[in-house]
Amino acid sequence: MPINEIDIAKVAQLAHLELGEAELKTFGSQITEIVNYVEQLNELDTANVEPAIGGLTPEGGKTDSSRADEIAGSLGQKEALAEAPDPASGHFRVPKVL
């Protein structure tokens, strides 16, 4: 499936990236090259192969990761907001949505 520059603009939109014309052009040709490279996987017949799910080992898959539903400490409002670019009155402030 060759990927063209129209696709690239759409992909940028989906990825929330505001790319300029020059970037769209460079990425367009580089990503086309990479996509052409990965197409080599089509040489393999995988009709009867189960897709791998994550990198889990059999032991990792068996490990029980559930825990009791108990109240534990948390960061708290002040610390959670300490690194925010624009905190306001205990909230994360963002530009207008509509």
Binding site: I3, H16, Y37, L41, G55, E59, T63
Partner: protein, 463 residues
């Protein structure tokens, strides 16, 4: 003693940073204070007073975590990663945060927003990536141990290029809590050191299940140091001849074949193994890793932490401009590629197909390990290349990881071991791969080799 050791490390880190750019933050005050406490309390814990450097994508409370990116800039996480909590509880002293490719994406460290790290063996060469700062810091003798992260070879590849040991443990061996996620099904925190016993000691401290990372496994943590007995009689080492062909630098190939001869002399049995699908690993990796990255990096949106672009009166525009200005080119390229392979209509053709071939690669290893205890390969196709040599050709850069990505896809452990210098005096490393939880075997094999062929050379830029 410990104050002296830590002060030496901090001073060396500061002094060599001009030539290496290995550290993004050095915490002299905090490190010296902790070293003084270690002395005062006559601390006897396993890592008491040991200076450690940490890659800047692992959270240390009170320090920055930029991930080599402008989008996080001087972000200071309010908590410790689990591995940091364990290191500190064992007495280790974190002296600083090391430079890396942005969000751990790269094989040369040239993708750091804060300038590349330079190789202490030759400062016009790359140190490898993405954990280049940690590798350089250990190679230059600044610290005995450093942490990195390995998603496709980001610990083992720079370890080989800088002439130190680099371990990527089994997936689930240690916790990823507090490691900024790149590709969650591949990421694993790894260890750099110059001595096998230091890798063993640190792994013993950081390994084990963690309720904060559900992918960690409840598998017993052995006494790794106890396995370093030097007895390699009867250990079966797999030799995949097909990986020693096209694309491999002649000197590297010869050096690794010499290692095989050393193992034979030490009493190990060398058996031929086949990894028929290894050639597809890079293609599989760049689908899965970018798909996971596009999803993981969606969280960087200028709302809760890090950088926000200015003059954006509307929310969606704020997201787009923040990400456009905050991310570097390689990160954007991978987010784009990942978004593309996951987009409607393409998911089956790329992502599902890649996960199927991942199964084949995993099965290749499971089959090979029926006949051997470990597999030997080169770690990298060539020694350290020149800064700037591959920056304009992403695909050529990706092919640096050809020997290392398979371990991440299969979830198995891998260890890079230094085995000599090229004619240009650049380090060469070989890689040992083993079945799940076989870290003791890999450490034992590296220890046995380094006992008869120690790597004692020091780089020109050295503490």
């Amino acid at each position: 003693m410990s104050r002296q050791t830590v002060e030496f490390a901090v001073t060396a880190a500061e002094r060599l940073n001009e030539s290496l750019n290995a550290f993004l933050q050095i915490d002299r005050e905090g490190a010296v204070k902790r070293a003084e406490e270690t002395e005062k309390n006559r601390d006897q814990r396993v890592l008491a007073g040991v200076p450690v450097a940490v890659k800047d994508n692992i959270c240390v409370r009170g320090m920055q975590a930029s991930c080599g990116s402008h989008i996080l800039g001087d972000y200071h996480p309010p908590y410790n990663a689990t591995v940091i909590e364990r290191l500190v509880n064992a007495g280790a002293v974190i002296i600083g945060k090391t430079n890396c490719d942005e969000f751990a994406m790269g094989s040369s460290n040239e993708n750091s927003a804060f300038g590349p790290v330079r190789n202490p063996w030759e400062t016009t060469r790359v140190p490898g990536g993405s954990s280049g700062g940690s590798a350089a810091a250990v190679a230059a003798g600044i610290v005995p141990v450093a942490l990195g992260s390995d998603t496709g070879g980001s610990v083992r590849q720079p370890a080989a290029l800088c002439g130190v040991l680099g371990l990527k443990p089994t997936y689930g061996r240690n916790s990823r809590y507090g490691l900024v996620a790149f590709a969650s099904s591949l990421d694993q925190i790894g260890i750099f050191a110059r001595e096998v016993k230091d890798v063993a000691r640190v792994l013993g401290v950081i390994a084990g299940p963690d309720p904060r990372d559900s992918t960690t496994a409840d598998v017993p943590v052995p006494d790794y140091a106890a396995t370093l007995d030097g007895n390699l009689k009867g250990v079966r080492i797999g030799f995949p001849a097909s990986l020693f062909g096209k694309g491999l630098d002649e000197e590297v190939g010869r050096a690794v074949k010499d290692v095989v001869d050393v193992y034979r002399e030490l009493g190990a049995e060398i058996v031929e193994v086949e990894l028929p699908n290894a050639g597809y690993a890079i293609a599989v990796y760049y689908i899965i890793a970018t798909a996971e990255a596009s999803s993981n990096l969606a969280r960087f949106d200028g709302v809760r932490y890090g950088f926000r672009a200015e003059e954006t009166p509307e929310l969606r525009q704020m997201y787009r401009k923040t990400r456009e200005e905050g991310f570097g080119p390689e990160v954007k390229r991978r987010i784009m590629l990942g978004t593309y392979v996951l987009s409607a209509g393409y998911y089956d053709a790329y992502y599902r197909k890649a996960q199927q071939v991942r199964t084949l690669i995993k099965n290749d290893f499971l089959n090979a390990f029926k006949n051997c205890d470990a597999i030997i390969t080169p770690t990298t196709p060539t020694p350290a290349f020149a800064l700037g040599e591959k920056v304009d050709d992403p695909l050529a850069m990706y092919l640096n990881d050809i020997y290392t990505v398979t371990a991440n896809l299969a979830g198995i452990p891998g260890l890079s071991v230094p085995c000599g210098l090229s004619s240009e005096r650049l380090p060469i490393g070989f890689q040992l791969l083993g079945p799940y939880w076989s870290e003791p075997t890999l450490l034992k094999l590296s220890h046995g080799f380094l006992k008869v062929q120690p790597f004692t050379e020091r780089p020109p830029v050295s503490a």
